[in-house]
Amino acid sequence: MRLLRVDMDRLIVRQEQVPARYERLGGRALTSRLLAEEVLPACDALGRHNKLILAPGLLGGAGVTTAGRLSVGAKSPLTGGIKEANAGGTAGDALGRLGIKAVVVEGQARKGELYLLHVAGDSAQLLPATHLRGLGTYATSDQLRTEYGAGCTVLSIGQAGEYLLTGASIACTGEGSQRSNHAARGGLGAVMGSKGLKAVVIDKADARSVPLADPELFRAAARRFAQELINDPRLGPKGSMHLYGTAAITAAVNEMGSLPTRNFSSGSFEGAATLRGEQMRETILARGGEIGTRCMPGCVIGCRNVYVDETGNPIVGTLQYETIALMGANLGLDNLDDVARLNYLCNDYGLDTIETGAALGVAIEAGYARFGDFESIASLLRQVGEGTVLGRLIGCGAVATGRALGVRRVPAVLGQAIPGYDPRSLKGNGVTYATSPMGADHTAGNAFGARREVNPLGVEGQRELSLRLQIIAAMLDSTGLCLFARPPVIADPQLMVDMINGIYGWGWIKEDLDRLNRELLRTELEFNRRAGITAADSRIPEYMREEPLAPHGVTFDVPDSELDAVFDAL
């Protein structure tokens, strides 16, 4: 296995053998360890001392279903702390097959210069990318697929990343014409832009297969894992995730009073019925769109869709719950066509839809558009692409927008917008937002699926639940597994251990995996401590402790002492 060091100062790419201490790390575990060892935590996130790291998970490239996610890590310009965001698509699989453990982008190109990294088999080089300047991610992907072949994988930033906007994402292509998988959170697209790196192209032609230490063990475990996903009532072909996508939960979150509505001023939205997964499926099928498509090769869940307009032309692929929550109910929009159009713009500019939806909600509260008025909202969002002052503010996220426009009600923790679960009525997520080294990030430990294990409206048990979920999330992010595919490996961690041992022959036991996950969280917490982040920076916004949320009339009332004790048992 090798590391690619991409030196943007000298415009060269070096290949290194993976040091022994990194051999057993993948995905988030590797990006965070490299950051902890090589990046000064107090550095400027958009300066030359930060590093952008791309790493497939431990299962990447081995052909395990749902396990090809690519981790992207850097110090976040949004949170000021360590960050990992991951994306589906084909990049994780392609890098894994090429034996590339990580791509480490260092230094900074000269101001105004723009490059792309081309990875072809055993070689990699930086090439000028001036011709891509100012292009959105869709046009960038199309252009590079024309130049390098339809089968290549493209990672790219749009205008938001080029402008160094802290809500910027990194887009990743997938199978066929798919161009809209995003490592969205934390503003990592701005870090990529700050390096002068517009895109990464990974050729498919020379992709190989991952050597297996124990093929029999691996194949048996991988087969069982896939079969258990297929058998799962949530995830299999008759499951809600496949039938309705992640939007399957829209109605449930709304019923439970946790759906962000009109800049987090209510937990239920009167227009939620037309945002539901059922409505989305019906509309897509009636118009000739696609349901149940996949973001990674071989995925047996298939929760993606291609949302089309009335004439059957694609608006966006894929429309997902978080976007529906933050750019639908949160903006007072009850029409999926409108949400899909905003989603398309965000994807093209290379923006996180959670961060941008929250920023737009704040801007509306300041009077710059109207809740429920698509045209006024879209007009604001288009300003991001145009590069106006207001557009750049919105592209920098909810906190920047709130500060500049004088809005106190800003739904953010550690500088990052709160996703589609209001922490007042789903307190387990609130504990995760307030304690995770990732800031307000539901993928760092989502309590929504915990059902009756812990009462979402209560305080008791949330601390323990959040820690357990954060440890599980660390495992998912380090192996490259989709978070929806977690049930079989939570039920039987040995299954994951067998897949890893089948590939690498490490002879791990379950405790080794657990230790690694806990070490990862400790590494990240220490990075943030050294970056100067304190518990006070990570609190749930004060207004959420004071302002009761309809319909339950609840505030976020988990005591600080409980939050501060989350990692006592780590």
Binding site: D232, P233, R234, L235, K238, G239, S240, M241, L243, Y244, T246, A247, A248, I249, A251, A252, V253, E255, M256, G257, S268, R276, G277, E278, C303, Q320, Y321, E322, A325, G420, H442, T443, N446, F448, G449, R451, R452, N455, P456, L457, L483, F484, P487, P551, H552
Partner: protein, 75 residues
């Protein structure tokens, strides 16, 4: 007492999605599910008046009762 029942997702496609049941005596959620024509084993999530509930919980008078298929967190 009247109970508004709503079914979501792929739960029992042949069953009316919204119905109001007039109950003569207090029932459990499971009993209401069966009365509604639902197979309780298909249900993954139950919400009564916005609060997550269980199959053996008593259904309060004049409530809204929602049945969801098994679901997991979004992305």
């Amino acid at each position: 007492m009247a109970v508004d029942v709503e079914l979501f997702g792929q739960l029992s496609p042949g069953v009316q999605r919204r119905q109001t049941l007039n109950l003569e005596r207090p029932l459990t959620v499971e009993e209401v599910a069966i009365l509604s024509g639902l197979d309780p084993t298909e249900v993954g999530l139950i919400v009564i008046n916005g609060v997550q509930s269980g199959m053996q919980d008593r259904v309060p008078p004049d409530c809204r009762l929602c049945f969801f298929p098994p679901v997991s967190g979004g992305s």
